[in-house]
Symmetry: C2
Subunit: 156 residues, 2 copies
DNA sequence: TTGAATCTTGATAAAAAAGTCAAGATTAAA
DNA sequence: TTTAATCTTGACTTTTTTATCAAGATTCAA
């Protein structure tokens, strides 16, 4: 279970653009490239995905650039992550993990599928009310939303 | 954010072997291959990972095969998923997503990192007490552990 | 002791994801 | 009108993950 590079970089670009929303400044691909340390080509590719997902608007030309298509508190992180990386579990998952068979051998009764759904629910519960606005504050503010001690990292 | 094929297939193989634990029967690679619809070569590779992770024991020779190395209620799913697919977030994650730079541009203050940690915590809370034993029952039994209605699938 | 069935391992091939590139379209300012 | 700065798109290359293969080692039973 991993986050994709596209989710990581996409979210970072969106946050970066979001920080300039209230001063009504648009950001260009070269600017974002420098800020985030991602190549211009890659930034362009990622922003295209976000634009087609409806989160960004772009303007061409000499004074062009990217802006949010809605205020940060109207952009739901769960939607952004879906566009950037798909869902953890959906009904097509079993169909793409059938091994050599046409249909999964566990179709009618599958503990693994149930586990994936349960994990998906847990993740959804975290994300359901989270907006881009919540990610524009400090790290501590975000942790406090979820009652997590900033220093605690259960991976250690 | 996706599950890897290795996590899916590995867990299915482990469950399959676990179902035979109480009758003390070992399963061979060809048997598991047929049951799960995964090629023998792939089963062999996946079982090697599970064996090296300490969850399985193998016996060679004409009457060989694989058995659990501990009772199902002693095998923690969180450990199994770690061996099969790593962790969602760990401290090396930022180091591998630095773009073109040597270190991530957001080292000191990073909302994305915080979000990943929060999601990781949510997943850990689901998994922390779950054992292989819980996956050997029916799907409904598993759902009831987490108060999820079997029909409900938030991905729809 | 021989042979069949099994697991073991490292190398290879195929598929998917990530990242790069080049040519083009659009816009605003000089 | 010209020029420079910008976004846009599809194709390509590289890297990572997944799956396959072939040769070998081990064990049991006849």
């Amino acid at each position: 279970m991993k986050f994709s590079a596209q989710e990581e970089y996409g979210l970072r670009c969106l946050i970066r653009i979001g920080k300039y929303f209230k001063v009504e400044k648009s950001l260009t691909i070269p600017e974002i490239s420098v800020y985030e340390g991602i190549s211009q080509h890659n930034v362009g590719k990622i922003l295209r995905i976000l634009r087609m997902g409806g989160f960004l608007e772009s303007e061409r030309g000499q004074s062009g650039g990217y802006t949010l298509s809605a205020p940060p508190d109207k952009i739901k992180i769960i939607d952004v992550l879906f566009v950037l990386g798909g869902r953890l579990y959906d009904d097509s998952f079993c169909q793409s993990h059938t091994g050599m068979n046409d249909i999964c051998t566990n179709t009618t009764e599958c503990s693994v599928r149930s586990l994936w759904k349960i994990i998906q629910d847990a993740v959804d519960n975290v994300l359901v009310n989270l907006t881009l606005q919540d990610l524009l504050g400090t790290e501590d503010n975000l942790f406090s939303l979820f009652d997590v001690a900033p220093g605690s990292n259960s991976s250690n």
